[in-house]
Every structure is written in structure tokens, then in C-alpha cells.
């Protein structure tokens, strides 16, 4: 330290000239040897214009894949388009920006007016939904790199059975609710954080995420598209939108001849088999049950909201402000462990304790309201899912279930019917 002090003194003596910068301990030396000071290199990121290119590629890919599916009806073309998307949106763009994650940006923008949402992200959220409303889930078939990746490994798809499908199908709703809750409260983007494939695209991820991705892909050999069917929160929206789509992929190009060849062709259990049996319950009981369910909906909604609101403290626990408040309130008493970095940073910031608590309380309050909403939403989802299992649209032909079908066109190859020549 002595040397250091001496040095300060000497330097101060030698250059009694104020620097143009803020007051510094050691003024900038005046070099006599003709030394030129190097530039601090500050490389820029990806050019902004390229993000508009992404939107352009998205529009082109969506238009092309919709044309391929609706008009061209070729599985091969769908496959190669999806390979392109896997290469571009997956490995080149490294999975970011993606439509699935954009849900969070949109919900954060809706709840926090100071958040600046880039137009490109809005485009990535809106465009696939619009195309789905027009042509079905063509986005899933050929544009989403996640879908392409999983489609690639689905070698031995097994039928899961309606029961497992029904139960696992609830997860995306829950995931969507939580993702919106966490994004809207400005806590975290959980979809991005637990995105299994982005690590593969970047060849860089934590061990846990690689393990998750590996598990998903290996199970994807037998259960086709596990992420899309049982996790994807964006899929929930696409499912709703696709049900009301203007056009949709059909299995047969002309008229179904009931040959049953496509019956087992769908790896996602999304083909509606024509009903041959009569409902054992008579009409009166069915109507009665349906009315009961509809009357139960408010109760279910309330139960869901109430249950979730019980959890709001736990849910809010991951928010940094709540974490800090908890640490300030209950300091770690372990002798070995010094103060956490959070406490250190908090102490050096000079923020009053009351403010930390106040901020945490605000967050908790937001989580309370938020968890009521999410819970109510889940209650409603349960009610509607049960009600949905009571209704059946009668169709004499083999048709894809518009909600679940990914429009991948695998079934198209199995149909022996030739298109009618006009």
C-alpha cells in the first residue's frame, strides 16, 4: 500500500493538470514516447435491419407453407420447408425471436406501459395467428423450428390413447397461464428460460436444459411432437384459432371413400374417425349433464381462482424484489456464509428498508390479483374441457381435428383418392 500511496503522490505532482474526464484517482499520463492510446473496441450486435428480414422470411415461409398444404398437398414439400425453417429460424437465428416467446413480450407490454415492445416481436406474435385463422396450423407444420426438430426424430410414433392425451393436454393451458402471469408482473420469461431447443440451436446451454432437450427428443421418437402437444403455450392459442379457420388441410383431395387407410397415419392422434355407434346416454341425460356443467362453470372458475390465490406468495417468491425483501427481513444466520450479494448490493445502494418492503408488497399485491386470474382461467378451462367431451360434431368422413391437427400432411400420402380434374 505504501508504494501505491507514493505513486499517487508522484503522479499528482508530475501532472497537475485537470483531465477532461470525471475526477480520477490517477490522471491520464502525458506520454512522451509518442504512444498512441488504443481504441476501446465495442462491437455492435446484429444489425437492426436484419430483424425486419426475419419478419419478411416469416411472411414468405407462412405463405409458402400454406400454399403447399392447402393447394400442393405434398408431405415432401412440407418436410423440406420445415427443414428450411429449422435451418433459418432454428440454427441461424438460434431460436430467437420466436412466436412462442413473443406471448410474454406482448403480455408484459400490455401490463407495463413503459416496456418498449419492438414491432418485429409484435409481428412474430400476430402473423402466425392470422395465418392460422385463415389456413389452420400451417405455422406448426413448416415454420416453427421446434416442430421441425421434433418431426425429424418422430420415427416410431405410438398411439397414446385418448385418456393420456386428455390429461397431458391440460399442461399447455397451465403453462400459458403461468407464463403470462410471470411476464405481466415483470418477473421472468419462463417460456424462454425453459425453452428446451434453444440450447441445441446455440450448441450452448446449461446441463439441465440439455438433459431436458435430450429427454424430449428421445421421447419424441415414440411420442411425436411432445413439446407441441403437451407443453407449447402458443399451441393453445393456435388450437383455438385453428378451430375457426377459413380453410384447412383435408385428408382426401376429393371425396372420402371410407377406405380407413389413413386411420392410423396420424402420429398426433388428430384424425376424427367417423362415429359408428350411438351414444349410450339418451338425449335427456346428456342435455341435463351439459346444463349442470354450464351452471358449474362459475363455481369452477371461483375454485380455481381461490386455489391459485393461496399460492400467490410462493409464486411471487421468485420475483427479485420479493426475494430481496425476504432476505432483508430474515437475514441468513449461518455463520459460515457471509452476506448474500443481494444484501451487499442493497446495502451499498442506500435504499431504505421500508422502501424494499413497500416494493415487495406491491409485487405481492400484483401476484395476488394475477393468481386469481390465472386460477380462474384454469377453472374455466377444466369446465370447458369437460363440456367439450360431451359434444361431438358428427362427420361421416375421416377429417382432421381442426384444433389438434398440425397440418403436417403426413396423412395425405395415405389417401388413395385422386384429385378430381376440373
Amino acid at each position: 500500500m505504501k508504494t501505491l500511496r507514493l505513486l499517487i503522490f508522484l503522479v499528482l505532482l508530475s501532472t497537475i493538470q485537470t483531465s477532461t474526464y470525471a475526477i480520477q484517482r490517477f490522471p491520464k499520463p502525458e506520454f512522451e514516447s509518442g504512444y498512441t492510446q488504443p481504441q476501446t473496441l465495442m462491437p455492435h450486435g446484429r444489425a437492426e435491419i436484419l430483424s425486419y428480414l426475419d419478419v419478411a422470411v416469416l411472411i414468405i415461409a407462412l405463405t409458402f407453407i400454406s400454399w403447399v398444404i392447402i393447394r400442393k398437398r405434398s408431405r415432401n414439400w412440407v418436410f423440406w420447408t420445415s427443414m428450411f425453417s429449422l435451418a433459418y429460424f432454428g440454427f441461424y437465428r438460434e431460436g430467437c425471436v420466436c412466436a412462442i416467446g413473443s406471448i410474454q413480450n406482448v403480455s408484459l407490454a400490455l401490463f407495463d406501459s413503459s416496456y418498449v415492445i419492438p414491432v418485429t416481436v409484435i409481428a412474430f406474435f400476430i402473423l402466425p395467428l392470422v395465418y392460422t385463422l385463415l389456413f389452420g396450423r400451417t405455422f406448426c407444420a413448416g415454420v416453427c423450428p421446434f416442430g421441425a426438430m421434433q418431426d425429424l426424430v418422430a420415427f416410431r410414433p405410438q398411439k397414446l390413447g385418448t385418456r393420456l392425451n386428455a390429461i397431458l393436454g391440460i399442461i399447455p393451458y397451465l403453462y400459458l397461464g403461468l407464463a403470462i402471469l410471470y411476464a405481466a408482473t415483470g418477473t421472468d420469461f419462463i417460456i424462454c428460460r425453459y425453452d428446451p431447443f434453444v440450447g441445441i440451436f446455440r450448441l450452448n446451454a446449461s446441463f439441465g436444459m440439455f438433459f431436458f432437450a435430450g429427454t424430449l427428443l428421445v421421447s419424441g421418437i415414440f411420442i411425436a411432437r411432445p413439446y407441441c402437444r403437451f407443453l407449447c403455450p402458443y399451441g393453445v392459442l393456435l388450437n383455438w384459432f385453428s378451430r375457426f379457420s377459413r380453410q384447412h388441410m383435408t385428408i382426401t383431395p376429393a371425396h372420402c371413400i371410407q377406405c380407413r387407410l389413413c386411420e392410423n397415419s396420424c402420429p398426433y392422434d388428430a384424425i376424427e374417425i367417423p362415429l359408428t355407434e350411438k351414444n349410450p346416454e339418451n338425449r335427456k341425460t346428456r342435455v341435463k349433464k351439459l346444463i349442470i356443467i354450464i351452471f358449474l362453470l362459475p363455481l369452477l372458475t371461483f375454485t380455481g381462482g381461490w386455489t391459485a390465490s393461496l399460492l400467490h406468495t410462493s409464486l411471487a417468491g421468485v420475483h427479485s424484489k420479493v426475494k430481496l425483501a425476504r432476505q432483508v427481513l430474515h437475514p441468513v444466520k449461518d455463520e459460515k456464509q457471509a452476506e448474500t450479494f443481494e444484501i451487499q448490493a442493497y446495502k451499498s445502494s442506500g435504499k431504505p428498508e421500508a422502501q424494499v418492503y413497500q416494493e415487495a408488497l406491491v409485487v405481492l399485491e400484483r401476484f395476488k390479483t394475477g393468481s386469481w386470474w390465472v386460477g380462474s382461467f384454469m377453472g374455466l378451462v377444466f369446465g370447458l374441457l369437460i363440456a367439450g367431451k360431451m359434444l361431438k360434431k358428427y362427420d361421416p368422413d375421416y377429417v382432421p381435428n381442426k384444433g389438434r391437427c398440425f397440418s403436417c400432411a403426413k396423412c395425405v400420402d395415405y389417401c388413395p383418392v385422386k384429385p378430381e380434374k376440373n
Binding site: 425429424l152 385418456r163 390429461i167 391440460i170 359408428t276 375454485t303 399460492l311 442506500g350 405481492l364
Partner: protein, 599 residues
Amino acid sequence: MEYFKPSAKLVGLLNRIALSAGLFAFVICLLILVNYYQLKRSDPLNSPALKVLVEKMRSNPDDEQVKLEIRELDLLARKAFFTNRWQIRTGGYLLIFSILIIVICLKTIELIKPKIPETPGSVTATFWSERLLNRKWITYTGISLVLVSVVFAYLTHDQLGDQLERVTGKTAGKSSNQVTMDLAGSTDENPAKVTTVESSIKTDSAIVNLDGYPSQQELNSNFPYFRGPFSTGLTFQKNIPTSWDGKSGKNIKWKTAVPLPGYNSPVVWNDKVFLAGANASKKEVVCFDVATGKILWETPIEKIPGSPAQSPKVNAETGLAAPTCATDGRRVYAIFANGDLAALDFTGKVSWSKNLGLPKNHYGHSSSLITYHDLLIVQYDQSGDANVMAFNGKTGQRVWETSRDVKVSWSSPILVNTGKRVELILVAEPNMVAYAPATGKELWRIDCISGEVGPSAAYSDGIAFSVNEYSKLAAVQVGDTPKVLWESDEFMSDIPSPVASANYLFLATSYGTMICYDAKSGNKYWEKDFGTPIFASPMIADGKVFALDKKGIMHIFRIDKTYTSISDPPLGESSVCTPAFADGRIFIRGDKNLYCIGK
């Protein structure tokens, strides 16, 4: 059969390739795992052996042997670290490559093998029974989800919310005590008489952090200084009313008589409006409640050491309390014609006060105050000894002082952000000078003004404007090498300051003419004679210009190339003070009363 033979062979080959690639991938995967585990388990960069050696060296600093050992071990550790990372990376590539081979093989097999649809089994009539089961299972899932949630909530319930609520209640009370105690200590020297202190204000100010300084957003949402958050006449306020009538009371929220006279303008912070007032025997700061107009407190500024016994001789049009107060959300600061400077907290207690020496100013000191971060900045352009200084807002300690070789002036400082830095710009004969507000260091100067300078500078988009009667109007491009972009001597002002929007400069003259220039080129777009003198500085708020004339009529017009009047509402009382805008309201100090106008 002939047709299938080559493809069968090919399929076999592909199958074998896929299998060996799979085995390879498996081995690579294992290797990566081992590698990863090693890196996690014993981070070479934090090797305990190295630490032991370093400890050894510390106790025995001249042991060359230990040093050698450290060097060797350090090199080894770094090598291990980077090799390890290289291995994981290369392993990753190999893994991806082998998986790619597997996928290609299997896809090719899929392609060559003819697709033979499975023969569908017999139709089973289980649809409705399965649906019934599904419904049941969904119900079970729902119920178990609720149960698990309830149990989990019960197990993890730590009443954090309740605890926080309790603690915040307690700490707020505690800090409020501390605040009052601190203030009680200071009141021994300054026995400030606090006329009204509402209990609610006490708790409010307890929550306010008395340290630190406000963010720009806080400043923007309030009206902390003369002429707005930068003192340039620009505000960020919205929903400002454009019609009112002081006589009929239309849109007048309240009107309160101001106890002592003064030509300073109101400043607003959240729920409080501040004014200063003085006569020959008394000086005070008054705080009004924004909602009701009630006077929350009025604190006399007196018994300041060094304060001259006699109040100075001043021009009647300037008065003894011409400078507008400034507030940083923690305290409100006021300065008077005799050089008394005081900081008051929001409960009306004097935090600190001092006298800066009787200013040698023949009309009376009138430069308003401004704050930057935690500094209070005072422009003190007296004749012979002009300077600008900054005080720590909390303690009153002088942080910097820069002497100015200018004549006496009555203008006020403005703060501008040039995109590169924040500059404090002051005008007085003969120049416009910019200082670094944090240090007081002069950044640049340019000669562009003369005479007894009254109007402050305006600023927009890199251009600062100065104007004075019998001088000229000059537009100065700010920066290390300032230059005059354009000049005009057609119209000039001696009291109201100009205001500039992105593209236009609005100049009001004290004889009642409003002129609009192109800010960049100096082209005159229009002039409008209101026929009544204008002493208050025109303000830009809510996308409109507000110019208050001496009769109390507010001329509201568009920021445009042509003069488009929006409305001309009357206050019903004459006024020479610049209006303040905050939270959808306008505050105007008339001759006798303070008005709050709001929808």
C-alpha cells in the same frame, strides 16, 4: 421382388450406419458428461491446491520454490480449463454430427421403404365410453391439482405478505420519529415557526427518502423549477385544460390568497405547491395542498447568520422575492433579494439556511434556482463579482463555485441534455456559457448577448437561444465549438424568456407581441400582437403554447407555422408570473391569489 432387393440391401447398410452413429453418439455423450462433471466438481481456476500454495507464499514471501510451484500449477490449471472447454465444445459438434447422420439414415430408409398402410383393426365401439372416462379423468386431475395446491400452499405459507405489512407499518413510524428528531435538533438554531403541520403530511414525508435525488421521470412528472423540469419552458404534462374563467369559476379548482407578495412562480411536487413571498420585514415560503388549495404551512425565513438587517432597495417590478423556488422532491429551496438561501423539508422545517452576501444588484436579484442530482445550483450574477455555485441539497455544503466574468443579470439557469452530456447554460452580458453541472467546470462560451439580460435561454435539439432588449436574438449551436447559427434583431424581449419546441422558437416580448421562428433557420413564420404586455414566460405543455399576458388572459395556440388560436381563457386577475403545469392542472399566481385550474 426384384424391385425390392437393392433397396433392402441399402436399408440394411443404412441401418448399420445409423446404429454405429448411434453408438458413437452415445460414447461422445458419456464423454461430455464426464468432462462436464469434472469441470463442475473441481474448477481448475479455483483449485484448492493453488490456494494453499498462495497462502504459503504469503507467509514466506521470498520462497522462490513456492513461486515456481505456483507458476507451474497455475499454467496447468489454465491449460486444464481451456482444454476442458475445448473438449466439451468439440464433443458437442461431434454429437450433433452423429445425430445428423442417424437422422439422415433413418429418413432415407423411411423414403425408400414403400409405405404400406397398416391394416386397420376392426372398428371398436368404445368412443362414448372412452369419452366418459376422459371426463372423469379430467375431473380427477382438476381435483388433485386443487388438493396439491392447497396442501402446498399450507406447507409453504410463510405469511411474508403479513410480515411485510407489519414491518412497513413499524418502520414507517420509526423513521418518521427519526426525521422529526433530526429536525428538532436543527430548530435550535433556526426556530422556524411551523403554523400548520397535518399529521398526514408527517407520515408522507416519512416515506419520502430524504437522501438521493429524483429520477428524470420524477422531475418530468412534476414541475420542480421555474419554467418546468429543465427550466426551458418545456413540460411533459398531459390533459391540460384549455378553457376556464376566473370570474365564473369555470374549471377553477380552487383559489387561495397568497400571504406575502412576490413575483416568483409556483413549483409543484406531487401533492404540494410552493411559493415564496417577502415584504420589507418578512420573508417566507408557503406550501399549498394541490387538492384543496389549503395552506399546509408557511415558514418564515429569518435569523440567518450574516443576513443584512435592512432589506435591499429593489425595483418595484422585481420585488424582494422574484426568484422562483426549486424542489428536488426531498426539499424545497428558496432564495431572496437579500441573498438569503434556505432549504426546507416538506413539512416546512428549515433543513439549512445561509446568506450568500447582499447581491450588488440595482433592480434586485431575480435568478431562479435549479437542482441537478443532489446539487442546488445558484446563479449569482452580481455586478463586479458574478459567480455560479452549487450546494449539497441535503447539507447545504458548498460543492463547487465558479466565478463568471459577466455583468449583472436577471436571467435563470437552464439544464439541457445535448445527448452527450448535461449542460448548465447561463446567459448574461456578454456571453452564453455552459458549465458541467456536476463540477462547475466551464464547457464552452460564446459572445452573443449584451445589456441588462433578463430573459433566460431556451433550448431545443442542440440549439440554445438567447435574447435581450437592445441586443439581438441569437441561435447558438451548443457543443465544444459553439457557433451562432442565425441572428435576428427585429424583435427582442427584456422580461419573458423564449421557448423552443423541436422545430419552432416562440418569442414573447414585454410589449405583447408573440413571434414564431423556424428554430433551425431563423425564418420568421408569423407574429401576433396581443395588445397587452406579456411578463410571464410562454410555456409549452400538452403540445400547445401557453402565453399568459399581464391582464391574466392565457393565449393558447398551436405549435405551428401559422398562428392558430385554441382559446384565450381569462384568469380574471392580472399576473406577471409564469404558470406551472402538473398532473392535468395549471397553477397561476395572480397578483393576490394562487389559482389551480383543472378539468
